[in-house]
Symmetry: C2
Subunit: 104 residues, 2 copies
DNA sequence: TTGACAAGCAACCATTTGGTTGCCTATTAT
DNA sequence: ATAATAGGCAACCAAATGGTTGCTTGTCAA
């Protein structure tokens, strides 16, 4: 779980996930297109995404195809975000109450 | 949004959010209890959480009370995770298909 | 078969990050 | 008044991060 959070912390990596979400199964060079970064930098980001299991790759000849794995993102939603949804309104209420107390 | 992701990337910070979720409105020293970290380290983490708007503080005399702000976490769920939920089953299907193709 | 293309490896670099220590300020309680 | 308590500030440090350049390997097409 920590690896996933760490992987998602970088905007370049999130945009790579966006690209795969828009079109799945891209090669490294395709994913590099239009980015202000060397291919090697992208390789490193993809390696981090792969280590976090957010991306899975398959070799096809000399090409490497990258596929989005939606499971970890889904888990963050289910296991982590949901927890904070419980008690969300209560927390908002406390916040509001404190703000009003301050302004008296 | 980027600040929020960055803030959530660290396990210590996530555990501080957990603590506030368990009991809202704690002081700095209360939040330090039981942690293997100096008070100053915790201060820095809380500053990052506050900058990301995940925590809001109120001074009460010489104490500083920390309150969870559930809004940014909720937004991550709504704006970011939900996007990947759309097309999630399709992505899982493609992944499975590729895995099977490989094993032929 | 040989050149072009896709990707990998490794060393290096600057900056950011997560932490420390030491000292200072502000508020409260005795 | 003064000691104790809650927190703030700043300098410093090692390690991690995000990026680069240069070179190598593997695969396909002419």
């Amino acid at each position: 779980m920590n690896e996933v959070f760490k992987a998602l912390a970088d905007a370049s990596r999130r945009s790579l996930l966006d690209r795969l979400h828009a079109r799945n199964g891209q090669t490294l060079n395709e994913l590099c297109e239009g980015l202000e970064m060397t291919r090697q930098a992208v390789t490193k980001h993809l390696a981090i995404l792969e280590a976090a299991n957010l991306v899975t790759t398959f070799r096809h000849g000399r090409e490497k195809l990258h596929y989005l794995n939606p499971v970890p993102i889904h888990q963050i939603g289910e296991r982590w975000i949901r927890k904070f949804e419980r008690g969300r309104l209560a927390a908002l209420g406390e916040l509001k109450r404190q703000l009003e107390k301050r302004d008296e």
